[in-house]
Symmetry: C2
Subunit: 456 residues, 2 copies
Amino acid sequence: MSEKALVYLKNNREQLLNKLSNFLEIPSVSTDRAHKEDIHHAADFIVTYLHDIGFDFAEKQATSGHPLVYGEYNRAGSNAPTVLFYGHYDVQPADPLELWDSHPFRPEVRDGRLYARGASDDKGQVFMHLAVFEAYLKAEGKLPLNVKVCIEGEEEIGSENLYEVLHSKKEQFAADFAVISDSGMVAKNQPTILYGLKGFTGIEINVTGPDHDLHSGMYGGAIRNPLMALSHILASMKNEEEVITVEGFYDGVEPLAEEEKKLIDQVPGESYSEATGVNETASEKGYTAKEHTMGRPTFEVNGMYGGYQGEGTKTIIPSTATAKITCRLVPGQDPVKIQQLLEEHVMNVAPAGVTVDVKKEKLSAKAYKVEPNHPLITKAATAYTKAFNKETVFVRMGGSIPVVEWIEAIYQMPIVLLGFGTPDDRLHSPNESFPIDSFDKGMETLIYYWNEVGNQ
Amino acid sequence: MSEKALVYLKNNREQLLNKLSNFLEIPSVSTDRAHKEDIHHAADFIVTYLHDIGFDFAEKQATSGHPLVYGEYNRAGSNAPTVLFYGHYDVQPADPLELWDSHPFRPEVRDGRLYARGASDDKGQVFMHLAVFEAYLKAEGKLPLNVKVCIEGEEEIGSENLYEVLHSKKEQFAADFAVISDSGMVAKNQPTILYGLKGFTGIEINVTGPDHDLHSGMYGGAIRNPLMALSHILASMKNEEEVITVEGFYDGVEPLAEEEKKLIDQVPGESYSEATGVNETASEKGYTAKEHTMGRPTFEVNGMYGGYQGEGTKTIIPSTATAKITCRLVPGQDPVKIQQLLEEHVMNVAPAGVTVDVKKEKLSAKAYKVEPNHPLITKAATAYTKAFNKETVFVRMGGSIPVVEWIEAIYQMPIVLLGFGTPDDRLHSPNESFPIDSFDKGMETLIYYWNEVGNQ
């Protein structure tokens, strides 16, 4: 079977792309309270979709935060496997708006790419699954396996309530294995299976000096400058060789094995300069950019601000300075421990004359690694290769997906990460996009995969 | 004479305060193009004022930037001295608005202080002079000396066009001496004459990394972080002992003489902790806070920004990072040379993987020092003491007034700095204010001073 489903996708391509556009038009930004209603619209869109294509059950489940969509298809029979499909319908903020060539929430196709916030991360990839379910059910009348759908609305704000849901509704969400499509390929049309993900943690540093902005002529020389103090603090946390200088940060991290370095070097790499515009990469001393990105922990200042940002000059000593920092972790590192080390370091180097406060981000995840030769993984590789007509590569990546850690911790079920994004998708950035042909080939891959792992 | 003028001020106090409020209500922010019209309204206000009180001449003079107000009173006779009075009607931006207890451009009196942007710097002090001219002309029918008024609208953006005006209109602006009221007293009701001002220069550092914000999971470990790079650059320019570590920065600076240290220590100092809320001062190694502020050069980061500043987290490597820096200079330092040293230092320490650009601020001024026992200065001290009933102190201050350097360079005339601001005025900050009784005593001082230096 599955032939009819493939034909259905081809014949309904236009209608499906339009439906995807309707989905992307909903500005479901989870970090911004102003978009609370849009979040609900996006969830309702999915519930309606599942009902329309004949799922046995679909509902919007309330959480203490944004709702989660749960759905079930049970008609593949008791001897067919059950998959738990996870995705998220929330997106990152679109700002700065002025850097978008087209409106982030008015999807537009240019040069074979669909431009919109969420086109790749993750609404576009979620929609591919929904469309494949539709194809099977409309064209074949059934799916080759039982499906449980779990699509949350809080991934971009750390999946704040998902753990609680997965934990308390263990019976409802139980399955034989899980599939997640919230990742990318190492290069366009290069089938890629993630066998490792990084962990994640973060802090915010707030430095407070004078209780109001001061005239730099009247007080310069008497008062510690919060922005300068914060610069000294940050400079003491990572040196210019990209080595993190926070005591204990690397404790428990195994050095990257030679064979793993080889594996990483074999991965067809994108050109960093093409994808990012930088003339030179910068990575941890002793590691290549690819090795550091895939296999070593990182420390990034995501945002920093204080004082005057307007036109011209304003001769002040600012009252406050803030830095937002996140780290990507590898196996052997505990996110909570790392947060403590970061806080201790900041407090130890904080200079006199300012008050330094460290806020620990709730968002946190352990790193994850899976066995690359598990049958559910190898079957995925086969499906990929069939659809893209290219050998599948196995990689570790720097991204973090907390749900992966939680599903493993709570259900101990195998997790298959089927990503279809490309390095040029500009996730989290202005002009996020997704290639139309990856959309086609990705759905083809899913058709083959369900066919392989489901009831023949 | 001058008695009638004093009485006039008392009798018309209410009306004058209301008129001052009307002046302060005009948001004449010079750095923001959006306020171009308000700038003209403020200039027109002064021209009309001078006409109404009987100045012989008053006009708004166009410049390549904001207009300048020029006025003349010539009826004191040819054997009376002529003073050039300088002030500015433009103000600093009012942001952040949310930190004001009352609207910055809706003046409000609370606890004996008048709250408004410009109440002290400099519209309030300019208005005191206008009111005193009014008092003399309405009550006595004449002024004891000839007056040339020069009130610009670009002081807060570096007096960009004033030098050109002063230079090209040398005949028109020529006078026997100059009086400037754009400074403060070291403590409320403590008569203070500035005999030294600091010089000024500034740069903006722009660090550019990737051509768009990057996903920290996909690129962390491969790409230099502009905010971290900028933090390293800044940390290399001033150490934690508040010593500026830019090579050559202190060249030509004479160490603060012991007697000058004594003089500074004798100045009744405000409590830094009361005025700023900091628990501990931070000053250059080997100097007290007061010594550093009055007599040593400074380096301040006035503003810094890059990456995500919104609610929650955004896991990006930002594309750019910016820092605005200004320095206060002392005799022996050349602003242009200092700018070059700053730029050279930044370029020398700029790391690979980012592009660093240094923008030199146009705003620049040499430090200034005057002889404290010049008769025009001692007469000012007498007038102060008479009005405030307290001995006058002589101080150097950290502020910079480019016009002082230019008037000296172009006209070689004595310059008397009569400041009436107080340390709690919050210049350039939210909740700027000016004490009502300083307004009264300041005008009294001016009445006595014009009487002393004018024709008896």
